[in-house]
Amino acid sequence: MTTHHLRTPLSDDVIKTLHVGDEVVLSGTIYMARDAAHKRLVDLLNAGKPLPVDLRGETVFYGGPGPTKPGHAIGVVAPTSAYRMDPYATVLFDHGVKAAIGKGDRGDAIRASCLANCAVSFSAIGGISATLFSCITDATVVAYEDLKTEAIQKLEIRDFPLLVTNDAHGRDLYEEEVTKYRKLLSRGEVAS
């Protein structure tokens, strides 16, 4: 397994070196946005209006944190299910977003969109919020404060642990690995 230590923003040249199953330890600036913010962003793009944050070239993290406990930069947070963002994510990849961070398998539209746009979809382990929030060193609300936990926040992250699950070469880790293990387990070639 290959491990890449990377900083944002992610260039096309870097994204092309990433393959499903690679681990990425990511540092730098990312933007946190989930369901409600995605709806607003895509409504603006469809209306031909500018976004409140320039997301071209950026990485979007599908998260909604808990309240910030004193002494910490942000509340606990881990990715939410990525499939719910699929209809919006393809529009954002077309707009120039280069990477997404979510959890769980996504639809074929994302595989095609990552291939077409030289973009990548990462997974972080869902629910390990106590682990992941300690990798966030700074957080600032930059748009849609009224959405509370769903507001868009600019995050500074250090050594955020990710897995490449949709790469820019048209591959999907979930489909490949689940199919592989279903076959192995059903044939009894591996014993659980």
Partner: protein
């Protein structure tokens, strides 16, 4: 909290102020969200020992680490601290005083979620979708039982797994094979999005409402604890084996630990029906109980 003898001197009545319920619910909310039950953490260890996928094994080890980090920092294991389900068994010899019982439970949720820095994940109206900002209202299930104690269980239920839960009325003739197919289809549909390794609660029988109620109660059962009826225990074992051959694995990254446990609860049902419900619980299988 006092115990009083009634006028005839034959029965006892225990008086309990509802503030005791508020305080207990608040404490249980925080403890449930900040610390996984021991049987669940042990379930991660046991699954890691048998997991066939290296990536799946590494996920399980990170879940164990995450529980430790949450405990060490006094923060929630998972940011989605859920819609709060509260089960209360009130002894029939208890007299609750000093306020509205239901409001006392909601007040406990409000207090716990504020003091524990837990996320407020509840919108007041399903279509207007404005956050209530205090995680109320809770979903409260109250039963009157013999005795003079109050038993409270808090189940903070995350959305990512709850959203994949489902129910159906099978034809009675579809029998146990129909049940198995329905449960497996639900698990495969959920895939990695429901945050496996899962605990799967299955309800069989009852009415439209009862079957989902018992499916949810099933996920309260400790991992490793089978149903007392032999044929249902056998079904639990067969379902667990089948689910763990789907290949989904921890987080859907592929592997053999898709579920830690399957618990089936049953109830009598109508001659025309075989209702089945599947309540899916993610790896953050949080539950905490206390007795007042």
């Amino acid at each position: 909290m006092s115990i009083t003898v009634d006028i005839e001197g034959k029965t006892f009545m225990r008086t309990l102020p509802v503030t005791a319920i508020t305080d207990c619910v608040a404490r249980l909310c925080i403890e449930a969200c900040h610390q996984l039950p021991e049987d669940v953490v042990q379930g991660f260890h046991d699954a890691a020992a048998t997991e066939v996928s290296p990536l799946g094994k590494s996920v399980l080890m990170k879940l164990i680490d995450n529980d430790r980090i949450a405990r060490d920092n006094g923060v929630s294991y998972c940011h989605d601290t859920g819609l709060t389900i509260v089960y209360v068994e009130v002894g029939q010899d208890v007299h609750l005083t000093g306020g509205d019982y239901q409001q006392a439970v909601h007040a406990g949720v409000r207090k716990g979620y504020a003091e524990g820095y837990m996320r407020k994940s509840v919108v007041g109206d399903p279509l207007l979708r404005v956050n209530t900002n205090d995680n109320t209202p809770a979903v409260i299930h109250t039963e009157i039982v013999p005795g003079s104690e109050v038993h409270i269980t808090v189940l903070p239920k995350g959305g990512g797994s709850e959203n994949w839960s489902t129910m159906k009325f099978l034809l009675p003739g579809e029998g146990v094979e129909g049940v198995k197919k329905f449960v497996l289809d639900a698990i495969v549909a959920a895939g990695g999005s429901a945050c496996p390794p899962l605990t799967v609660g299955v309800g069989l029988g009852g009415s439209f409402d009862k079957v989902t109620d018992i499916a949810k109660k099933a996920i309260l059962r400790d991992i490793g604890q089978h149903h007392p009826d032999a044929h249902i225990a056998k079904l639990e074992t067969e379902l667990l084996e089948a689910i763990n051959k789907t290949g989904i694995g921890p987080q859907g990254y592929g592997g053999s630990s898709t579920a830690l446990w399957v618990a089936v609860e049953t109830y009598a049902c109508h001659i025309t029906a075989l209702p089945v419900a599947v309540n899916i619980q993610c790896h953050a299988s949080r539950r905490k109980s206390a007795v007042i």
